[in-house]
Amino acid sequence: MQQTHRDRLAAIKATAEIEVSGVTSKVVNGAVVPEGKPSYAVKIKNEAGEVVASASSEKKADAYESAIAKAEKKLAKAEK
């Protein structure tokens, strides 16, 4: 996860988890390579471990950005 995303998560006291789907692996010339088109699902959890936001995308950075933005909005509302 990029440092800017880590910093934003720290600011709202949250953590991120990511799951990858749609991809398998095979060995080619002695090395493993991915097969398929990966999709990334990000969950943002608060300090209590509850999922407060989630998002998915074919681009990992976009999945983080979307999920973190949702979490920031939700946690900001909760503070008001």
Binding site: Q2, I18, V20, V27, G30, V32, P34, P38, K60, A61
Partner: protein
């Protein structure tokens, strides 16, 4: 008398070494050859491996035993890993990466079973290294050994047993793009090929 001259084919059974054949028609003792304990050393000099973002694990074939059942007696390794791709956008700085040697290529972000059955041994705690904090600067050298109470025999009678160096980034948030790491160090494996059929 050199051992290679022993061959009891067509002769009367007679004791050989610590083994005494049964006195039974149709049961013949033959010398099948010497079983030698071999020690191989594979040296790595900035060997590159790509950890893809999509998989977050990687493998590199480093060699293959001759066909037969391979009894692993022990193994030791000393390795230094260097991230040579941009740290901020690939393998993050100072994160734990699992490594091990196995007869199968990595297939999960947590190494286990045949992915580590040559070192540290199936069922054992998987060793880790800490990724580079500066591009092209090696992280601390790590050492590990084959650790198991049960002797490991790998069945390479049908297909010769390969050795893969496997890496895995267990925490998915620690990698953001395809990462290249180089490996410098060695693997030593002491083993016996107990036979083939």
């Amino acid at each position: 008398m050199p051992l290679t001259t022993f061959d009891y084919a067509g002769q009367n059974n007679s004791a050989q070494g610590n083994f005494t054949p049964a006195s039974k028609s149709g049961c013949l003792l033959k010398f099948a050859g010497k079983a030698t304990i071999e020690k191989l050393r594979i040296e790595f000099s900035a060997m590159s491996i790509t950890i893809t973002d999509a998989l977050a694990y990687a493998s590199q074939l480093v060699g293959t035993f001759a066909e037969g059942r391979i009894a692993i007696i022990g193994a030791v390794t000393s390795l230094a890993f260097t991230t040579t791709s941009a740290i901020a956008s690939t393998l993050n700085s100072g994160v734990a990466v699992q490594y091990g040697f196995g007869s199968a290529a990595a297939s999960a972000t947590t190494l286990a079973t045949t992915m580590i059955n040559i070192l540290p041994g199936s069922g054992q705690t998987v060793p880790t290294f800490t990724s580079s904090t500066t591009i092209n600067v090696a992280s601390a050298t790590v050492t590990a050994a084959y650790v198991t109470n049960a002797q490991s025999q790998l069945d390479g009678t049908a297909t010769a047993i390969p050795i893969y160096l496997n890496l895995a980034v267990a925490t998915g948030t620690d990698i953001d793009g395809d990462a290249t790491v180089t490996v410098t160090g060695f693997l030593e494996v002491t083993y016996c090929n107990v036979g083939d059929y």
